[in-house]
Structure formats: structure tokens, C-alpha cells
């Protein structure tokens, strides 16, 4: 009898094949479950001209990639920092014409991902009808419904080259479990895997396979969708691993403040990414135990 192959990978193996100009999709939403360790690794590799996708919301993950010069096109329905403000890198790059913005609604991206997941050529959404989005984004096609003839938006299947996501726990075969909400990560993995791309997950903790078999209803993403698992404790930091530890608001505000000037942005990227070649070094330099204890405590209410 053979044994199963472990998908626990080095970062080099996991990001092998990632090239300039590819389509990268990032899991999580807003400040939650963002695979920030993997984002920093991509920046360190100085990959250029990425088409970056995230749904429903992106914040520091995509903004940092933009500021670091990795991005040619943004496909994100909401790029911003919610109650903390707008996305500085995104705003500036869009105003300077340095990135293309693929204007869209959540349901356009989801329809495109779902089409890929189901091996269908395209998906449809009602969103867009009556708006300017078809003019702004020619990939969104105004069509007539096959049956009723009413106007709809059609969009081709979206097949990312690489998906990155962060879960609270995983086993060495790639099964993933989240403590809180998993947002669109399952659809992200399905669409990428079915579209022929690669799916890489970082996890706060590698747990035994038995942890999944004893309660398979709790598994959020099956190992069959995952290519590589990397153990990266606090790998979402400064974002949350939803339900495990809260995002660090002060650390996110630090990014926003730094991003007010070009030099500030460069300094931030140097300080938080380029000068810390490994996750361990990042944690040593930027994350103190006290803030982690607080981040854990902040997932509860009295």
C-alpha cells in the first residue's frame, strides 16, 4: 500500500511558475483572511504586471501589491479600507493611469469564477443593466437572456493562474478549516482549480488529518482543490484570521499613514517587506506577543 503525498511546501515551490503578467486571485475579504505572508513573498520576488482579482473586497493586500509596482490591472469590486478610508495606493495609481481598473460588480466576478468552476464558457448577472459599466469594461457584455430576451450582463469564465488564501488550520494533504467566515475562498479555489491554475494556502497551524475526518462537515475546502500548503503562523497579519485573531487596526492605520507620501510608501515596503526576507524575520521585527494576545482576545465579546 502506498502513502499519500504531503502538500506541505516551501514558499519557493509554492510560488514556482508565477510570472509577470499572470492572473493572481487573492482570498479573504477586506481585512480578513488575507494571505499577507504570501502577498509579501510575491512583492519580494518583484513580479510585475499582475492582473489581481479579489472578491468581494480587498484592502491592504491589493493596495500593497499596487504600491510595490506588481500590478497592471485590478479586478476587485470594492477596493478600500471601509471605516478607515479609501485605498491610497489604488487611488493614486488609478489617477496616474498606472493601472487598469476592470470596473465591475461583485456578481460579475462571481459569475466569471462560477463559470470556470463549472467548466462553462461564461456566466450571467443582472448587475450592470442600466449602468455605465459595459462602456467602461468591454469584458462585460450586454446581452439578451436566452429565454426571456431581457437585458443581462454576460462575462467570460475567469481562470486565474494562481490563487492564494489563508486558513486557520490545514492538514498536510491540503484540507482547510477556517475558524470564522471563509468568504469567497471556496469559490476562489474551485474556479482556479477547475480553470487549470494553482491554489496555494497558508495556514496558521498544520493539524493532523484526523482533525478533518472526525468532523468532515467542518472542512471548508477539500484537499482536492489545494496544491500547496504552507504553515505560516499569523500569516494573515496585520489582517485577521477570521475568528482566530482580529486584524490589527493600528498596524493597518500605520500603512495608511505611511502611504500619504511616496517616500512613506517606499519606506513602508522596505521596512515591512524587502528588509525581512522570511516570515520568521517579519514576525520578529513587526509583531509583538502583546499585540497577538490582544488580537486573540478581540475575537470575543464579554
Amino acid at each position: 500500500m502506498g502513502t499519500r503525498t504531503s502538500k506541505l511546501s516551501s514558499i519557493d515551490l509554492a510560488l514556482d511558475g508565477l510570472e509577470d503578467g499572470q492572473t493572481l486571485i487573492i482570498g479573504g475579504s477586506l481585512f480578513h483572511n488575507k494571505p499577507m505572508f504570501l502577498v509579501r513573498e510575491i512583492i519580494r520576488r518583484q513580479i510585475k504586471d499582475l492582473i489581481v482579482v479579489s472578491v468581494p473586497q480587498a484592502s491592504i493586500d491589493v493596495d500593497l501589491l499596487i504600491s510595490a509596482g506588481c500590478v497592471a490591472e485590478v479586478r476587485v469590486p470594492y477596493m478600500g479600507f471601509e471605516y478607515l478610508g479609501l485605498a491610497p495606493g489604488f487611488r493614486k495609481a488609478a489617477s496616474d493611469g498606472k493601472i487598469r481598473v476592470w470596473e465591475c460588480d461583485e456578481t460579475h466576478i462571481l459569475a466569471a469564477l462560477e463559470a470556470s468552476a463549472r467548466k462553462l464558457p461564461s456566466g450571467i448577472a443582472k448587475a450592470g443593466v442600466g449602468t455605465d459599466v459595459h462602456r467602461l469594461n468591454p469584458d462585460l457584455k450586454l446581452v439578451k437572456d436566452h429565454i426571456s430576451g431581457e437585458p443581462l450582463t454576460a462575462v467570460a469564465a475567469l481562470k486565474p493562474d494562481l490563487a492564494i488564501m489563508h486558513a486557520a488550520a490545514g492538514d498536510k494533504y491540503g484540507n482547510l478549516r477556517y475558524s470564522g467566515y471563509s468568504f469567497a475562498d471556496l469559490m476562489v479555489a474551485e474556479a482556479t482549480r477547475q480553470g487549470g491554475g494553482k491554489v496555494v494556502a497558508s495556514v496558521d497551524e498544520v493539524v493532523p488529518n484526523a482533525s478533518f475526518t472526525k468532523d468532515p462537515f467542518r472542512t471548508n475546502i477539500s484537499c482536492m482543490l489545494i496544491d500547496h500548503v504552507i504553515e505560516a503562523p499569523y500569516g494573515a497579519y496585520p489582517c485577521s484570521s477570521h475568528g482566530s485573531y482580529q486584524f490589527n487596526e493600528a498596524a493597518i492605520v500605520e500603512y495608511l499613514n505611511a502611504s500619504k507620501t511616496e517616500q512613506g510608501t517606499l519606506d513602508y515596503i522596505d521596512d515591512h517587506v524587502m528588509s525581512v526576507p522570511s516570515h520568521d524575520e517579519y514576525l520578529d521585527k513587526h509583531v509583538n506577543l502583546h499585540s497577538l494576545i490582544e488580537a486573540k482576545a478581540k475575537t470575543y465579546v464579554d
Partner: protein
């Protein structure tokens, strides 16, 4: 009495006014700009006149009802994990979020026009915009399906209330009656616009925005001076009613015990 001297902070007034729009048994999503306010509005409605109202916390898929549950703090974000403690009974898988009823939702925008169309895309030329907005989010989706929706504008100015949007991100009433029906939009369109100065609804016949009430401390003239959109002004425009003491009590002890609304930037 002006809002400055009133017993409630401005976001509390907003939550109160919006809560009165929500009916018992309805299902809807807070969200949009400043989601603390719609989330508080929905919880306040549950704890006052709408005990069967169900809240879906937008993209986080938590379905909640606070009635008879221990009070939980209000958080800035509907995606905060701690909303799980605020009466969450179901966590929807992500795709199911889009398969569930929306009697209402809340929208924000960079610009709104007199037919309730919204711009979240950009101000200025799209190739080099003066202000790049955060994007369409789920506004176009939700505005196409929700039975009705509420627009929350953070600023009331001639730049935000305009006659012509730079870009239409989500369609309200288009250019007037019949436009939604002609395009097969099943939702009913916007019902109310709330700004720091006033509340506006839409005329049933013309679908044009109409001044409904002016908040304490503001006047009709002031509102019009700051509105670039052509809106209907009835002869008598009442002052926005403030919540009674009992409602304030519920708001401050059960909906927002940690005073998030009172301490929002610009709350007073």
C-alpha cells in the same frame, strides 16, 4: 432644537430614522458606507417594532436576530467576526448570500442624482480620475434585486447631489418612471436618501427625489444651497423627528452599549 444641542448624536439620529423604515418580518443587509449606522438601525428595529426582522451581514453571511439575546457591542464593520455574538443563527455559505431575500439594503455613493442613480466609480475622466471611488461593490446587484433600498450620503453638497453623474454605477430610477421595468430590474428602487442635513424620498409619480424632512439645526434653504440635483420641495417640510427617550435607551443600552455611534468622527 439643533442636532448639536439635541440629546442624540447625528449617527444615532440616522440609525433611528432608518430603523423606522424597516418593517417586521423583513430581511435585509446593512452595509455600504459607515455600516455601523445601518447595522444599528436594523438591530434597533428588531428591538422595537420589528422583532421578526432578519439581518444578513452582507458579504459575511451572518444571519442574525437580536430579540431576546444578550446585548452585544456594535462594531464598525459588518464583517467583524464578533458579530457572531450578536444573535447570529445561521452562517450562509458565500454563494448562498446571493440566493436570499433582500427586502432592503443600504447603499452609499460618491454622487447621487435626482432619480437615485449612484456613482461609486470615479469623479472625473476615468483614465485619470480626480477621485477614484472604491468601485461598484455589490451595489448594482443589490439595487437590481432588493425590494427597496436606502441611500446614505456622508456629505450633503453640490458635489455629491448632482443632476448628472460622472458614471452610473447602480441604477435607481434611471431617467424616470418605467425605466426599471423596461430593463427587467425586479427590485423596486431607492426609497430614501439620508444625509447629514435631510431625509429625502422619491415621488411615486415622477420618481424624482423629494425633500421629506430637514434635520434639527438645518433649514430647507441650506439644503437647497447644498444640493446640485433638482429635487422636489413640498410646501411644508417638517423637521426630522428625534427618537423618544425609550428608543434612545434601547439604542444606547442594547444596540450600541459601547457608544460607537456617539463617537463616530463628526458625530456631534
Amino acid at each position: 432644537m439643533s442636532i448639536e444641542s439635541s440629546p442624540v448624536a447625528w449617527p444615532e439620529l440616522a440609525a433611528f430614522v432608518l430603523s423606522k423604515e424597516l418593517g417586521d418580518g423583513e430581511i435585509g443587509s446593512p452595509g455600504g458606507a459607515r455600516s455601523e449606522i445601518p447595522l444599528a438601525a436594523a438591530r434597533l428595529a428588531q428591538l422595537t417594532h420589528a422583532p421578526n426582522l432578519m439581518i444578513i451581514t452582507s458579504a459575511a453571511g451572518f444571519v442574525a436576530n437580536s430579540v431576546g439575546k444578550a446585548p452585544a457591542p456594535l462594531f464598525h464593520s459588518t464583517m467583524d467576526y464578533r458579530n457572531i455574538y450578536a444573535g447570529t443563527e445561521t452562517v450562509l455559505n458565500f454563494m448562498s448570500v446571493f440566493n436570499t431575500p433582500r427586502d432592503w439594503f443600504f447603499a452609499g455613493g460618491l454622487q447621487v442624482d435626482s432619480f437615485g442613480n449612484l456613482n461609486m466609480t470615479a469623479i472625473g475622466d476615468i483614465k485619470a480620475p480626480k477621485l477614484k471611488g472604491p468601485g461598484g461593490a455589490g451595489l448594482s446587484y443589490a439595487s437590481s434585486v432588493a425590494r427597496r433600498y436606502f441611500i446614505y450620503m456622508q456629505q450633503h453638497s453640490k458635489l455629491s447631489f448632482v443632476n448628472k453623474l460622472d458614471y452610473v454605477t447602480a441604477m435607481g430610477y434611471g431617467s424616470g418612471p418605467g425605466d426599471r421595468e423596461a430593463l427587467g430590474l425586479v427590485g423596486g428602487g431607492p426609497a430614501l436618501v439620508f444625509s447629514p442635513m435631510a431625509a429625502m424620498d422619491f415621488c411615486n409619480v415622477t420618481k424624482r427625489m423629494r425633500l421629506r424632512s430637514v434635520h434639527p439645526g438645518h433649514t430647507v434653504e441650506e439644503v437647497l444651497d447644498n444640493t446640485g440635483a433638482e429635487i422636489i420641495v413640498p410646501e411644508d417640510v417638517p423637521t426630522t423627528a428625534l427618537p423618544d427617550a425609550e428608543t434612545i435607551e434601547i439604542l444606547r443600552t442594547k444596540v450600541d452599549p459601547s457608544g460607537v455611534l456617539q463617537n463616530l468622527k463628526g458625530a456631534r
